[in-house]
Protein backbone atom coordinates (compact mmCIF):
# COMPACT_ATOMS: atom_id res chain seq x y z
CA UNK A 1 0.00 0.00 0.00
CA UNK A 2 1.47 3.33 -1.09
CA UNK A 3 0.62 6.57 0.64
CA UNK A 4 1.87 10.00 -0.34
CA UNK A 5 2.29 13.40 1.28
CA UNK A 6 2.67 16.66 -0.59
CA UNK A 7 3.79 19.83 1.20
CA UNK A 8 3.51 22.98 -0.93
CA UNK A 9 5.42 25.77 0.78
CA UNK A 10 6.13 29.36 -0.17
CA UNK A 11 9.70 28.63 -1.23
CA UNK A 12 9.94 24.87 -1.72
CA UNK A 13 7.53 22.03 -2.39
CA UNK A 14 8.09 18.55 -1.05
CA UNK A 15 6.60 15.16 -1.84
CA UNK A 16 7.11 11.84 -0.07
CA UNK A 17 5.89 8.33 -1.02
CA UNK A 18 5.70 5.83 1.83
CA UNK A 19 4.98 2.13 2.04
CA UNK A 20 4.46 0.23 5.29
CA UNK A 21 5.90 3.05 7.36
CA UNK A 22 9.03 3.45 5.24
CA UNK A 23 9.97 6.20 2.82
CA UNK A 24 10.20 4.86 -0.72
CA UNK A 25 11.07 8.13 -2.40
CA UNK A 26 11.13 11.86 -1.74
CA UNK A 27 11.66 15.04 -3.78
CA UNK A 28 12.19 18.71 -2.93
CA UNK A 29 11.77 21.40 -5.62
CA UNK A 30 11.66 25.18 -5.65
CA UNK A 31 8.06 26.32 -5.65
CA UNK A 32 6.52 27.72 -8.83
CA UNK A 33 4.38 30.84 -9.07
CA UNK A 34 1.18 28.81 -8.66
CA UNK A 35 0.82 26.26 -5.87
CA UNK A 36 -0.97 23.71 -8.09
CA UNK A 37 1.90 23.82 -10.58
CA UNK A 38 4.35 23.12 -7.75
CA UNK A 39 2.19 20.26 -6.50
CA UNK A 40 1.85 18.64 -9.93
CA UNK A 41 5.54 18.90 -10.65
CA UNK A 42 6.83 17.62 -7.31
CA UNK A 43 4.34 14.74 -7.33
CA UNK A 44 5.18 13.71 -10.89
CA UNK A 45 8.87 13.74 -10.02
CA UNK A 46 8.50 11.61 -6.93
CA UNK A 47 6.28 9.12 -8.74
CA UNK A 48 8.67 8.73 -11.65
CA UNK A 49 11.59 8.28 -9.26
CA UNK A 50 9.64 5.58 -7.45
CA UNK A 51 8.56 4.00 -10.74
CA UNK A 52 4.91 4.49 -9.81
CA UNK A 53 1.89 6.26 -11.24
CA UNK A 54 -0.82 8.18 -9.41
CA UNK A 55 -3.04 5.07 -9.60
CA UNK A 56 -0.65 3.24 -7.30
CA UNK A 57 -1.12 5.84 -4.55
CA UNK A 58 -4.03 4.76 -2.42
CA UNK A 59 -4.17 7.90 -0.40
CA UNK A 60 -2.52 11.29 -0.60
CA UNK A 61 -2.64 14.13 1.92
CA UNK A 62 -1.67 17.72 1.10
CA UNK A 63 -0.29 20.33 3.45
CA UNK A 64 1.55 23.67 3.41
CA UNK A 65 0.21 27.10 2.57
CA UNK A 66 -0.89 25.96 -0.90
CA UNK A 67 -2.63 22.78 0.26
CA UNK A 68 -6.13 23.81 -0.74
CA UNK A 69 -5.02 24.27 -4.34
CA UNK A 70 -3.71 20.73 -4.85
CA UNK A 71 -5.95 18.80 -7.26
CA UNK A 72 -4.88 15.21 -6.64
CA UNK A 73 -5.10 14.93 -2.85
CA UNK A 74 -7.72 13.04 -0.87
CA UNK A 75 -7.52 15.45 2.00
CA UNK A 76 -5.72 18.58 3.22
CA UNK A 77 -4.27 18.65 6.76
CA UNK A 78 -2.82 21.68 8.57
CA UNK A 79 0.92 22.25 8.54
CA UNK A 80 1.05 22.24 12.32
CA UNK A 81 -0.45 18.76 12.52
CA UNK A 82 1.75 17.42 9.73
CA UNK A 83 4.93 18.87 11.18
CA UNK A 84 4.15 17.44 14.57
CA UNK A 85 3.48 14.01 13.11
CA UNK A 86 6.49 14.11 10.80
CA UNK A 87 8.82 15.25 13.56
CA UNK A 88 7.68 12.42 15.82
CA UNK A 89 8.38 9.91 13.07
CA UNK A 90 11.85 11.42 12.62
CA UNK A 91 12.61 11.66 16.35
CA UNK A 92 10.20 9.46 18.37
CA UNK A 93 11.18 11.06 21.69
CA UNK A 94 10.42 14.59 20.47
CA UNK A 95 8.21 16.87 22.60
CA UNK A 96 9.06 20.28 21.16
CA UNK A 97 9.34 20.99 17.45
CA UNK A 98 10.69 24.24 16.05
CA UNK A 99 9.94 24.53 12.36
CA UNK A 100 11.31 27.29 10.20
CA UNK A 101 9.60 27.70 6.88
CA UNK A 102 10.38 30.01 4.01
CA UNK A 103 7.92 32.64 5.24
CA UNK A 104 6.97 31.58 8.73
CA UNK A 105 8.17 29.93 11.87
CA UNK A 106 6.30 27.72 14.28
CA UNK A 107 6.94 26.07 17.59
CA UNK A 108 4.81 23.19 18.83
CA UNK A 109 4.66 20.95 21.86
CA UNK A 110 3.57 17.33 21.74
CA UNK A 111 2.58 15.00 24.56
CA UNK A 112 4.05 11.50 24.98
CA UNK A 113 1.52 10.12 22.50
CA UNK A 114 2.34 12.72 19.89
CA UNK A 115 -0.82 14.78 20.39
CA UNK A 116 -0.52 18.50 19.95
CA UNK A 117 -0.53 20.30 23.29
CA UNK A 118 0.33 23.83 22.30
CA UNK A 119 1.58 25.73 19.31
CA UNK A 120 2.54 29.20 18.21
CA UNK A 121 3.29 30.57 14.76
CA UNK A 122 4.68 33.74 13.29
CA UNK A 123 3.85 34.58 9.71
CA UNK A 124 3.37 38.30 10.27
CA UNK A 125 7.01 39.36 10.38
CA UNK A 126 9.84 38.11 8.17
CA UNK A 127 12.29 38.17 11.03
CA UNK A 128 12.96 34.67 12.34
CA UNK A 129 11.70 33.03 9.16
CA UNK A 130 13.63 31.57 6.24
CA UNK A 131 13.02 34.81 4.42
CA UNK A 132 15.31 36.66 6.80
CA UNK A 133 18.22 34.35 5.93
CA UNK A 134 17.38 34.50 2.26
CA UNK A 135 17.47 38.31 2.21
CA UNK A 136 20.79 38.39 4.09
CA UNK A 137 22.39 35.67 1.94
CA UNK A 138 21.42 37.61 -1.14
CA UNK A 139 23.10 40.87 -0.12
CA UNK A 140 26.15 38.89 1.00
CA UNK A 141 26.28 37.00 -2.32
CA UNK A 142 26.31 33.68 -0.50
CA UNK A 143 24.05 30.69 -0.85
CA UNK A 144 22.18 29.53 2.22
CA UNK A 145 24.53 26.59 2.92
CA UNK A 146 27.58 28.84 2.91
CA UNK A 147 25.92 31.19 5.37
CA UNK A 148 25.68 28.34 7.88
CA UNK A 149 29.18 26.97 7.44
CA UNK A 150 30.83 30.35 7.51
CA UNK A 151 29.62 31.39 10.91
CA UNK A 152 31.67 28.61 12.55
CA UNK A 153 34.83 30.57 11.71
CA UNK A 154 33.66 33.82 13.24
CA UNK A 155 35.57 35.41 16.11
CA UNK A 156 33.46 38.51 16.66
CA UNK A 157 29.89 38.15 15.46
CA UNK A 158 28.18 41.43 14.63
CA UNK A 159 25.00 42.38 16.46
CA UNK A 160 21.88 44.09 15.15
CA UNK A 161 20.05 46.96 16.80
CA UNK A 162 16.68 45.59 15.77
CA UNK A 163 15.20 42.31 14.59
CA UNK A 164 13.53 43.88 11.55
CA UNK A 165 14.70 42.33 8.27
CA UNK A 166 14.70 45.72 6.56
CA UNK A 167 16.95 47.36 9.16
CA UNK A 168 19.18 44.30 9.48
CA UNK A 169 19.71 44.26 5.72
CA UNK A 170 20.84 47.90 5.83
CA UNK A 171 23.20 47.01 8.71
CA UNK A 172 24.67 44.09 6.74
CA UNK A 173 25.34 46.34 3.75
CA UNK A 174 26.99 48.87 6.06
CA UNK A 175 29.20 46.14 7.59
CA UNK A 176 30.15 44.87 4.14
CA UNK A 177 31.16 48.41 3.15
CA UNK A 178 33.17 48.72 6.36
CA UNK A 179 35.08 45.54 5.39
CA UNK A 180 33.90 43.57 8.43
CA UNK A 181 34.92 39.89 7.92
CA UNK A 182 32.15 38.00 6.16
CA UNK A 183 32.23 35.20 8.80
CA UNK A 184 31.41 37.73 11.49
CA UNK A 185 28.48 39.06 9.50
CA UNK A 186 27.26 35.52 8.79
CA UNK A 187 27.49 34.60 12.47
CA UNK A 188 25.60 37.77 13.40
CA UNK A 189 22.85 36.88 10.94
CA UNK A 190 22.54 33.35 12.35
CA UNK A 191 22.49 34.67 15.92
CA UNK A 192 19.76 37.17 15.07
CA UNK A 193 17.74 34.40 13.51
CA UNK A 194 18.24 32.16 16.55
CA UNK A 195 17.37 34.92 18.97
CA UNK A 196 14.06 35.57 17.26
CA UNK A 197 13.23 31.86 17.08
CA UNK A 198 14.06 31.32 20.73
CA UNK A 199 11.64 34.08 21.75
CA UNK A 200 8.89 32.27 19.90
CA UNK A 201 9.86 28.83 21.24
CA UNK A 202 10.13 30.02 24.84
CA UNK A 203 6.56 31.26 24.55
CA UNK A 204 5.19 27.73 24.48
CA UNK A 205 7.65 26.40 27.05
CA UNK A 206 10.34 23.94 26.07
CA UNK A 207 10.26 20.28 26.88
CA UNK A 208 12.85 17.69 25.91
CA UNK A 209 13.53 16.38 23.39
CA UNK A 210 13.68 19.39 21.14
CA UNK A 211 14.17 19.08 17.41
CA UNK A 212 14.18 21.43 14.48
CA UNK A 213 12.46 20.85 11.15
CA UNK A 214 12.35 22.78 7.90
CA UNK A 215 15.17 23.74 5.57
CA UNK A 216 16.85 26.03 8.10
CA UNK A 217 17.49 22.96 10.32
CA UNK A 218 20.24 22.12 7.84
CA UNK A 219 22.03 25.37 8.66
CA UNK A 220 24.46 24.32 11.41
CA UNK A 221 25.19 27.96 12.29
CA UNK A 222 21.57 28.66 13.18
CA UNK A 223 21.08 25.35 15.02
CA UNK A 224 24.18 25.90 17.16
CA UNK A 225 23.20 29.49 17.90
CA UNK A 226 19.66 28.41 18.80
CA UNK A 227 21.01 25.79 21.24
CA UNK A 228 22.95 28.55 22.99
CA UNK A 229 19.95 30.87 23.10
CA UNK A 230 17.62 28.20 24.44
CA UNK A 231 20.19 26.62 26.74
CA UNK A 232 19.00 23.20 25.68
CA UNK A 233 20.34 20.57 23.32
CA UNK A 234 18.59 20.22 19.99
CA UNK A 235 18.38 16.66 18.75
CA UNK A 236 19.72 16.53 15.22
CA UNK A 237 17.52 14.74 12.72
CA UNK A 238 19.51 12.05 10.94
CA UNK A 239 16.85 9.65 9.73
CA UNK A 240 15.78 11.86 6.83
CA UNK A 241 16.06 15.39 5.52
CA UNK A 242 14.42 17.66 8.16
CA UNK A 243 12.93 19.72 5.35
CA UNK A 244 10.65 16.75 4.56
CA UNK A 245 8.98 16.69 7.98
CA UNK A 246 5.70 18.22 6.79
CA UNK A 247 5.42 15.95 3.77
CA UNK A 248 6.27 12.88 5.88
CA UNK A 249 3.57 13.84 8.36
CA UNK A 250 1.12 14.23 5.48
CA UNK A 251 2.05 10.80 4.09
CA UNK A 252 1.57 9.26 7.55
CA UNK A 253 -1.90 10.81 7.77
CA UNK A 254 -2.63 9.42 4.32
CA UNK A 255 -1.55 5.94 5.41
CA UNK A 256 -3.83 6.13 8.45
CA UNK A 257 -6.74 7.01 6.18
CA UNK A 258 -6.25 3.79 4.28
CA UNK A 259 -5.63 1.55 7.25
CA UNK A 260 -8.70 3.22 8.78
CA UNK A 261 -7.26 3.99 12.16
CA UNK A 262 -4.48 5.50 14.16
CA UNK A 263 -1.66 3.06 13.93
Amino acid sequence: MFAAGCDVGSLTSKAVVMKDGKIIESVIIKSKARPWESADEVMNLVLSKAGLTMKDIQSCVGTGYGRDKISFINEAVSEIACHGKGARWLVPSVRTVIDIGGQDCKALRLDDKGNMVKFITNDKCASGTGRFLEVMAKVMHLNLDELGEMSARSRQPITFASACTVWAQADVIQHLNDKVPIEDIAAGVNNAMASRMSTLANNIGLEKDVCMTGGVAKNSGVVNALEKHLGIRIKRIRREDPQLAGAIGAALFAAEKVSGGAK
Partner: protein, 261 residues
Amino acid sequence: MITAGCDIGSLTAKAVILKDGKILASEVVLALAQPEKSATEVMARALEKAAIKIEDIAYCVGTGYGRKHIPFMHADESEIACHARGAVWQVPTARTVVDIGGQDAKAIRVDEKGNVERYVYNDKCASGTGRFLEIIADSLDIKLEDMGALSEKATEKLTLSNQCVVFAETEIVSLVNEGKEIADIISALHQAVANRAASLARGILVEPDAVMTGGVAKNSGMFSALERALGVKLHHVENPQINGALGAALFAADKINGSGK
Protein backbone atom coordinates in the same frame (compact mmCIF):
# COMPACT_ATOMS: atom_id res chain seq x y z
CA MET B 1 17.88 87.90 17.75
CA ILE B 2 18.61 84.99 15.42
CA THR B 3 18.62 81.32 16.41
CA ALA B 4 18.83 78.09 14.44
CA GLY B 5 17.69 74.49 14.64
CA CYS B 6 19.29 71.62 12.82
CA ASP B 7 17.61 68.22 12.51
CA ILE B 8 19.78 65.39 11.17
CA GLY B 9 17.49 62.55 10.17
CA SER B 10 18.23 59.22 8.57
CA LEU B 11 17.21 60.31 5.09
CA THR B 12 17.21 64.10 5.15
CA ALA B 13 18.83 66.90 7.08
CA LYS B 14 16.84 70.01 7.91
CA ALA B 15 17.77 73.48 9.12
CA VAL B 16 15.59 76.38 10.26
CA ILE B 17 16.74 79.92 10.98
CA LEU B 18 14.46 81.89 13.25
CA LYS B 19 14.45 85.63 13.81
CA ASP B 20 12.26 87.21 16.48
CA GLY B 21 9.68 84.44 16.30
CA LYS B 22 9.55 84.25 12.51
CA ILE B 23 11.09 81.75 10.13
CA LEU B 24 13.80 83.55 8.21
CA ALA B 25 14.86 80.57 6.13
CA SER B 26 14.59 76.78 6.06
CA GLU B 27 16.30 74.11 4.05
CA VAL B 28 16.06 70.35 3.48
CA VAL B 29 18.85 68.28 1.91
CA LEU B 30 19.30 64.55 1.39
CA ALA B 31 21.44 63.15 4.18
CA LEU B 32 25.04 62.41 3.27
CA ALA B 33 27.05 59.44 4.55
CA GLN B 34 28.40 61.39 7.55
CA PRO B 35 26.03 63.36 9.76
CA GLU B 36 28.69 66.10 10.18
CA LYS B 37 28.67 66.73 6.45
CA SER B 38 24.86 66.73 6.26
CA ALA B 39 24.71 69.29 9.06
CA THR B 40 27.32 71.56 7.54
CA GLU B 41 25.72 71.36 4.11
CA VAL B 42 22.15 72.06 5.17
CA MET B 43 23.16 74.90 7.49
CA ALA B 44 25.34 76.52 4.81
CA ARG B 45 22.38 76.52 2.44
CA ALA B 46 19.98 77.91 4.99
CA LEU B 47 22.45 80.67 5.89
CA GLU B 48 22.83 81.54 2.23
CA LYS B 49 19.07 81.73 1.81
CA ALA B 50 18.80 84.00 4.84
CA ALA B 51 21.81 86.00 3.62
CA ILE B 52 23.53 85.79 6.98
CA LYS B 53 26.66 84.16 8.38
CA ILE B 54 27.03 81.46 11.01
CA GLU B 55 28.41 84.13 13.38
CA ASP B 56 25.02 85.84 13.24
CA ILE B 57 23.37 82.81 14.88
CA ALA B 58 23.15 83.53 18.60
CA TYR B 59 22.32 79.94 19.52
CA CYS B 60 21.85 76.69 17.64
CA VAL B 61 20.15 73.52 18.88
CA GLY B 62 20.59 70.16 17.16
CA THR B 63 18.20 67.24 17.04
CA GLY B 64 17.53 64.03 15.08
CA TYR B 65 19.36 60.72 15.21
CA GLY B 66 22.62 62.37 14.10
CA ARG B 67 22.38 65.24 16.59
CA LYS B 68 25.53 64.33 18.51
CA HIS B 69 27.61 64.97 15.39
CA ILE B 70 26.55 68.52 14.52
CA PRO B 71 29.80 70.53 14.74
CA PHE B 72 28.35 74.02 15.12
CA MET B 73 25.54 73.49 17.64
CA HIS B 74 25.52 74.76 21.21
CA ALA B 75 23.20 72.14 22.65
CA ASP B 76 21.03 69.25 21.54
CA GLU B 77 17.48 68.29 22.33
CA SER B 78 15.51 65.06 21.78
CA GLU B 79 13.49 64.65 18.62
CA ILE B 80 10.33 64.06 20.63
CA ALA B 81 10.68 67.40 22.45
CA CYS B 82 11.51 69.25 19.23
CA HIS B 83 8.61 67.77 17.29
CA ALA B 84 6.18 68.59 20.08
CA ARG B 85 7.47 72.15 20.33
CA GLY B 86 7.47 72.74 16.59
CA ALA B 87 3.97 71.34 16.09
CA VAL B 88 2.37 73.46 18.80
CA TRP B 89 4.10 76.54 17.38
CA GLN B 90 2.69 75.75 13.94
CA VAL B 91 -0.77 74.68 15.17
CA PRO B 92 -1.36 76.09 18.67
CA THR B 93 -4.42 73.88 19.25
CA ALA B 94 -2.47 70.67 18.53
CA ARG B 95 -2.62 68.09 21.32
CA THR B 96 -1.50 65.04 19.35
CA VAL B 97 1.42 64.92 16.95
CA VAL B 98 1.96 61.95 14.67
CA ASP B 99 5.37 62.14 13.05
CA ILE B 100 6.37 59.69 10.34
CA GLY B 101 10.01 59.92 9.44
CA GLY B 102 12.26 58.05 7.06
CA GLN B 103 13.10 55.32 9.54
CA ASP B 104 10.80 55.79 12.49
CA ALA B 105 7.36 56.86 13.59
CA LYS B 106 6.31 58.61 16.74
CA ALA B 107 3.12 59.80 18.33
CA ILE B 108 3.26 62.51 20.97
CA ARG B 109 0.66 64.02 23.27
CA VAL B 110 1.43 67.63 24.13
CA ASP B 111 0.02 70.32 26.40
CA GLU B 112 -0.84 73.83 25.23
CA LYS B 113 2.73 75.01 25.84
CA GLY B 114 4.18 72.29 23.66
CA ASN B 115 5.47 70.19 26.57
CA VAL B 116 5.49 66.45 26.01
CA GLU B 117 2.92 64.58 28.12
CA ARG B 118 3.47 61.09 26.75
CA TYR B 119 4.79 59.51 23.61
CA VAL B 120 5.29 56.24 21.76
CA TYR B 121 8.03 55.52 19.34
CA ASN B 122 8.82 52.83 16.78
CA ASP B 123 12.17 52.39 15.17
CA LYS B 124 12.27 48.61 15.57
CA CYS B 125 10.09 47.66 12.62
CA ALA B 126 10.22 49.30 9.20
CA SER B 127 6.48 48.94 8.70
CA GLY B 128 4.72 52.20 9.51
CA THR B 129 7.77 54.30 8.64
CA GLY B 130 8.80 56.16 5.51
CA ARG B 131 11.09 53.30 4.65
CA PHE B 132 8.09 51.17 3.70
CA LEU B 133 7.10 53.75 1.06
CA GLU B 134 10.68 54.12 -0.12
CA ILE B 135 11.20 50.40 -0.65
CA ILE B 136 7.98 50.00 -2.61
CA ALA B 137 8.64 53.14 -4.68
CA ASP B 138 11.99 51.64 -5.53
CA SER B 139 10.61 48.26 -6.51
CA LEU B 140 7.84 49.83 -8.61
CA ASP B 141 10.32 52.30 -10.10
CA ILE B 142 8.31 55.37 -9.22
CA LYS B 143 9.38 58.53 -7.40
CA LEU B 144 8.59 58.89 -3.73
CA GLU B 145 7.24 62.40 -4.30
CA ASP B 146 4.87 61.18 -7.02
CA MET B 147 3.14 58.63 -4.80
CA GLY B 148 0.60 61.02 -3.30
CA ALA B 149 -0.70 62.29 -6.64
CA LEU B 150 -0.67 58.77 -8.07
CA SER B 151 -2.77 57.37 -5.24
CA GLU B 152 -5.44 59.99 -5.87
CA LYS B 153 -6.13 58.31 -9.21
CA ALA B 154 -7.04 55.03 -7.49
CA THR B 155 -10.36 53.53 -8.55
CA GLU B 156 -10.31 50.00 -7.17
CA LYS B 157 -9.97 49.41 -3.44
CA LEU B 158 -7.21 46.93 -2.71
CA THR B 159 -6.02 45.77 0.69
CA LEU B 160 -2.53 44.52 1.46
CA SER B 161 -2.73 41.46 3.67
CA ASN B 162 0.85 41.78 4.92
CA GLN B 163 2.08 44.29 7.50
CA CYS B 164 5.71 43.25 7.16
CA VAL B 165 7.57 45.30 4.54
CA VAL B 166 9.44 42.23 3.29
CA PHE B 167 6.26 40.20 2.77
CA ALA B 168 4.32 43.19 1.42
CA GLU B 169 6.95 43.76 -1.23
CA THR B 170 6.35 40.24 -2.54
CA GLU B 171 2.61 40.72 -2.31
CA ILE B 172 2.86 43.92 -4.35
CA VAL B 173 4.91 42.18 -7.04
CA SER B 174 2.09 39.60 -7.31
CA LEU B 175 -0.51 42.38 -7.56
CA VAL B 176 1.45 43.97 -10.40
CA ASN B 177 1.68 40.60 -12.13
CA GLU B 178 -2.05 40.15 -11.76
CA GLY B 179 -2.48 43.37 -13.74
CA LYS B 180 -3.64 45.58 -10.88
CA GLU B 181 -3.29 49.33 -11.44
CA ILE B 182 -0.28 51.02 -9.84
CA ALA B 183 -2.52 53.81 -8.50
CA ASP B 184 -4.69 51.27 -6.68
CA ILE B 185 -1.63 49.49 -5.29
CA ILE B 186 -0.11 52.74 -4.01
CA SER B 187 -3.38 53.67 -2.37
CA ALA B 188 -3.47 50.29 -0.59
CA LEU B 189 0.15 50.78 0.44
CA HIS B 190 -0.62 54.17 1.98
CA GLN B 191 -3.43 52.65 3.96
CA ALA B 192 -1.17 49.84 5.21
CA VAL B 193 1.54 52.27 6.37
CA ALA B 194 -1.09 54.54 7.93
CA ASN B 195 -2.81 51.66 9.75
CA ARG B 196 0.47 50.65 11.27
CA ALA B 197 1.32 54.19 12.37
CA ALA B 198 -2.22 54.64 13.71
CA SER B 199 -2.03 51.52 15.84
CA LEU B 200 1.15 52.95 17.34
CA ALA B 201 -0.56 56.31 17.92
CA ARG B 202 -3.54 54.73 19.64
CA GLY B 203 -1.11 53.72 22.39
CA ILE B 204 -1.13 57.32 23.65
CA LEU B 205 -4.88 57.89 23.07
CA VAL B 206 -5.16 60.33 20.20
CA GLU B 207 -6.81 63.57 21.30
CA PRO B 208 -7.87 66.39 18.95
CA ASP B 209 -6.51 68.51 17.51
CA ALA B 210 -4.16 66.13 15.77
CA VAL B 211 -1.40 67.08 13.37
CA MET B 212 0.82 65.02 11.12
CA THR B 213 4.47 65.99 10.75
CA GLY B 214 7.57 64.55 9.10
CA GLY B 215 8.42 64.28 5.43
CA VAL B 216 5.74 61.63 4.88
CA ALA B 217 3.07 64.25 5.69
CA LYS B 218 3.85 65.92 2.36
CA ASN B 219 2.33 62.88 0.68
CA SER B 220 -1.36 63.76 0.30
CA GLY B 221 -2.31 60.09 0.00
CA MET B 222 -0.63 59.28 3.30
CA PHE B 223 -2.25 62.27 4.94
CA SER B 224 -5.77 61.17 4.10
CA ALA B 225 -4.96 57.49 4.77
CA LEU B 226 -3.79 58.42 8.27
CA GLU B 227 -6.97 60.45 8.82
CA ARG B 228 -9.02 57.38 7.88
CA ALA B 229 -6.92 55.10 10.07
CA LEU B 230 -7.12 57.37 13.12
CA GLY B 231 -10.72 58.35 12.57
CA VAL B 232 -9.94 62.01 13.33
CA LYS B 233 -9.42 65.02 11.15
CA LEU B 234 -5.78 65.98 10.83
CA HIS B 235 -4.67 69.57 10.71
CA HIS B 236 -2.38 70.66 7.97
CA VAL B 237 1.00 71.88 9.07
CA GLU B 238 2.56 74.33 6.70
CA ASN B 239 6.03 72.91 7.05
CA PRO B 240 5.73 69.26 8.13
CA GLN B 241 9.24 68.19 7.22
CA ILE B 242 11.10 70.97 9.03
CA ASN B 243 8.96 70.67 12.16
CA GLY B 244 11.73 69.08 14.23
CA ALA B 245 14.31 71.67 13.17
CA LEU B 246 11.79 74.40 13.91
CA GLY B 247 11.27 73.04 17.42
CA ALA B 248 15.05 72.99 17.87
CA ALA B 249 15.29 76.64 16.76
CA LEU B 250 12.54 77.53 19.25
CA PHE B 251 14.47 75.83 22.06
CA ALA B 252 17.51 77.79 20.95
CA ALA B 253 15.50 81.02 21.29
CA ASP B 254 14.49 79.99 24.82
CA LYS B 255 18.15 79.70 25.75
CA ILE B 256 18.83 83.23 24.64
CA ASN B 257 15.68 84.62 26.22
CA GLY B 258 16.50 82.69 29.35
CA SER B 259 13.00 81.31 29.69
CA GLY B 260 11.18 78.10 29.02
CA LYS B 261 8.39 79.61 27.02
